[in-house]
Symmetry: C2
Subunit: 119 residues, 2 copies
């Protein structure tokens, strides 16, 4: 998925969802140049929204450094469904071929969450 | 904690740890200016490393936009211990007073993880 972010608020962090839910943390460093990454990322953004168990995702990338994307799903079945999508599998394969120097994936169940906003 | 990152590799993502472990995702937007943030963040970086159950943390921030920090702990007791540290509580309070426009915290148990690196 892209370094763009999606949610109810165009500027701020996604809200805390109602636990339990799943989160997938994807941390990465990129290769140089776009190499088709942007277009595929946009397509993945569209595709993932079609999944009923998808709650949202958000990304940040320090220029020239680490990128972190966190994706939120209602349950483990929704993650499995997303992993099984053919176009997504193709994008993952291309990620290893072209886009990423290194990445780590952490999958966890959220047991509590909260948000805060300045008055 | 700061937008710097810490771990075995100075450039890449932190590695996958051995599950189960805990992760805390902190997503935020900042106020303008430093307001003492950098110095306190550096101090928090030092302090958290003293906790036996601390595994690592890493951050990314899109300039002018979203920041994401992910902190990894061996177990829930280590998170509780970190939450109870007085200096950390003071920093959190100052965060709400001075540094953040908005933030969300998601705490979860990691059930699986893996890493990949280009040959």
């Amino acid at each position: 998925m892209s370094d763009h972010r999606h949610g109810n608020s165009p500027a701020g962090p996604l809200p805390a969802f109602e636990p339990p839910y799943q989160m997938v943390v994807f941390t990465s460093t990129r290769t140089e140049g776009d190499r088709g990454y942007g277009a595929t990322a946009d397509r993945m953004d569209e595709l993932v929204k079609e999944l009923p168990g998808y709650l949202g995702h958000e990304s940040a990338r320090t220029p020239g450094g680490l990128g972190i994307t966190v994706s939120y799903f209602r349950d483990a079945a929704a993650i499995e469904e997303w992993r099984s999508v053919g176009e997504h599998r193709g994008a993952q394969k291309q990620g290893r071929a072209d886009w990423y120097e290194e990445y780590t994936v952490h999958v966890g169940e959220v047991v509590r969450s909260h948000g805060w906003k300045r008055d």
